[in-house]
Subunit: 452 residues, 2 copies
């Protein structure tokens, strides 16, 4: 039987199996679900073995385990693909907003509703079923394949980078492959070729060594809350252009060709405003909304606190004030360098009446992948054949730090072969996966591997 | 016996009685102490009666009661003095920082340590003992006297203004008299002739109708936290000068004579810096620290919150951000007018990408009392005779809203006849009252009433 025909024939069973996977509440952030996370790892191991992977292991980490699988029978003259995915999920809260129970997968029309349906169990399982289809129809995969599925993606992957660094030989490969993103519409395939990076700091302004009374000292003691606001206001202009000297020095500008390519992306401004929950967009006037959110850096305050925040009025002039500030970065901005730049600037603009402390909370590099590589061309052809339409190359505003880790530690580029949709409600109530895309995903992966 | 000699003779008993008063933990903010608050009111009623007040009543309010007393035998051709004080106290927390138990009054040298010793039981009791001294030596007071002692000052006096408005006849008087402030040093008498007012608002900036992901939307959605900081930064310059148009229009400028008078106030900058807990002062360069904190308006953020404020990094672009902002006002700034001014300005500078809501939390008028009135001159002479040194006229940075209420509702000016010291540790552990000032307070009040 033809490999694609096999997929078509077994689609109902594949869906039933995915539903079983989704019934396991593998919520990585909640200690009460620790055994469920492990159960999901074990479930995945069983299905990887059943799909034909000769070597499968649930590998321990200081946190939740990583499921590793390997199928190297294609031989050394064939490329090795390293697949990454995650089997943990976000908490389902707020529960009362779900129309169907989050861990009782429910098909409504073509959409399967469940926590993790799209992010990322459904997309990760595509690769297991593609392997099974090869195994059952050809007895082998056309390329060598290694898989790592982690259980801590939703808590920031604290053990993933150390794992990759410690197991470089085990993970050695030629191409990375990740299905944890979305295309533009159910009939509108797209390939993400660039991700933004991240530099995330916490800044604390320290004034008086104890909270003082604003009646007695207001006007003669510099208030850390006022100072913090003033400093934050100096980080960017009213249009979002960052005003930290040197911030844009290493930004790789969009070429006219790339802008023309991005301009091809169908963009429904009204739908975007609705998704964002705003009445109007904002940002650097010289760039489109898509460019601003994917190809330009951004600076956002993610949290701020200080002083009296309970109901009513208290006339306190607090001793300190803090904010969490993150910067989305684009190639070739280096997170550590940007963090140092911002810290130096904050110290420079801080008035002498306060002290400023800056803590580096998190950094992740952006990524940009060559669109003309053989693997990217194979992905392009696979999407086009499956969807009947050429995929559009797009950038993505978020960060997938493992892409940079694969680049830096393993020296490989990654293909982001996503099959979600923009309205999949990731991290929100009523998460779903458009099931025709589940099947098309399996087909696309089969065509991609066959075409490498 | 001479009235002052009576005070001298009975000083030990006065101290013992004050200690009894201080043993009652009349903490108005804690429901568990509701009966203690009432016990303090009853204790005061008993002592007012014993001192000779022919009419004393514990009057109910929706909260803690108000103790009312009246002695009108001086006749209609004598002025009526309305004394205000409060018998409730702040909670003693943190308990482990007290060197002696807060409700076991302990004399160490000349200082009596206890919660409420200075604020305000000790100072309120001065008036009871002055009345007793008159009664026992002359059989009458030289003026008519009315008293109200409230039990809710430490929780913002929620029932005081309605009480005063509802009992204008009962409270009708010619002069207000309050002992709830401090002088400059134990041998350095001072009279506060001006208080700052207060306008206190809460501002909320509303952006997207739900929290969104800063990776996906950062750069094209105006972040309410960034907007709030930018708006706050536009309210004043780096030196604390408020930049809201019209803010200073109604400020009554300091006259050269008044500045010269304030310049006489002994000011120890090093001690001030230590008390404030800062390494340097700040504020409008054209004014001294004392002027900035008492005779100039100030704008302080008292609290701010929004977004993710737990440990670690979360890349949220929150739907809303809020701040509590208060302005200390000086005569003749009107709190309602200033609140309207600030609200209009905030709405004006808000970008069209957000909505701004402003809530008026609290307002209180400042006050300034004529220094050349007969009552003020009588107070001046009384301090000078008791302390052997002319009092200095000073302004105060905080607010005592009842002063404005007396002015507006009863049409009377108030003499702030305080006897506390700057280091009395009000609201803090180890509150104390310098007992020689307790006796001098009784003497000063006696001289003041005799001199009216």
């Amino acid at each position: 039987m033809d490999t694609l025909t096999y997929v078509y024939t077994h689609r109902q069973r594949f869906l039933d199996e995915l539903s079983d996977f989704l019934r396991i509440p593998s919520i990585s952030t909640q200690a009460a679900h620790k055994q469920d996370v492990r159960a999901a790892a074990d479930w995945l191991r069983t299905h990887l073995s059943a799909a034909g992977f000769p070597y499968v292991e649930v590998m321990e980490t200081p946190g939740h385990p990583i499921v590793y699988a390997r199928w190297m029978a294609a031989g050394p003259d064939k490329p090795t693909v390293l697949i990454y995915g995650h089997y943990d999920v976000q908490p389902p809260d707020p529960l009362d907003e779900w129309r169907t129970p989050p861990f009782t997968p429910t098909l409504v029309g073509d959409d399967l509703f469940a926590r993790g349906a799209s992010d990322d169990k459904g997309q990760a399982f595509i690769h297991v079923k593609a392997a099974e289809a090869f195994k059952m129809t050809r007895g082998a995969l056309p390329v060598n394949v290694k898989c790592i599925f982690e259980g801590e993606e939703e808590i920031g992957s604290p053990n993933l980078n150390p794992f990759i660094e410690a197991h470089q030989d085990l993970l050695a490969a030629d191409i990375g492959l990740i299905s944890d993103t979305h295309i533009l519409g159910k009939d509108l395939p797209a390939i993400i070729y660039a991700l933004r990076g991240l530099a995330y700091i916490e800044v604390t302004v320290i004034g008086p060594d104890h909270d003082v009374h604003s009646g007695l000292y207001g006007g003669a003691v510099n208030n850390p809350l006022n100072v913090l606001c003033r400093m934050i206001a100096q980080l960017q202009d009213a249009q979002g252009h960052v005003t930290i000297p040197g911030f844009y020095d290493s930004v790789r500008d969009l070429s006219p060709a790339e802008r023309a390519e991005l301009a091809k992306v169908p963009f429904d401004r009204a739908a975007w405003l609705k998704e964002a929950g705003v009445r109007s967009d904002w940002g650097e006037p010289a760039y489109t909304i898509l460019e601003r959110t994917t190809a330009r850096p951004a600076l956002d305050v993610n949290g701020i606190w200080g002083g009296y925040i309970e109901p009513g009025a208290k006339t306190v002039l607090p001793g300190r004030a803090s904010a969490k500030i993150s910067m989305r970065l684009v190639p070739d901005q280096e997170p550590q360098a940007i963090t140092r730049l911002v810290e130096a600037y904050l110290q420079k603009i801080a008035p002498p009446t306060v002290q400023v402390e800056v803590k580096d909370l998190h950094g992740g590099e952006g990524a940009i992948v060559r669109r003309d590589s053989p693997a990217m061309q194979a992905a392009f052809r696979a999407y086009a054949a499956t969807f009947g339409r050429d995929p559009i190359f797009i950038r993505e505003g978020g960060s997938i730090p493992v892409v940079a880790t694969f680049q830096k530690v393993l020296g490989i580029e990654t293909i982001l072969m996503g099959f979600g949709l923009p309205d999949d409600q990731l991290h929100a109530p009523n998460e779903k996966f458009h099931i025709p895309n589940f099947y098309k995903g399996i087909e696309t992966v089969i065509r991609f591997m066959s075409g490498l």
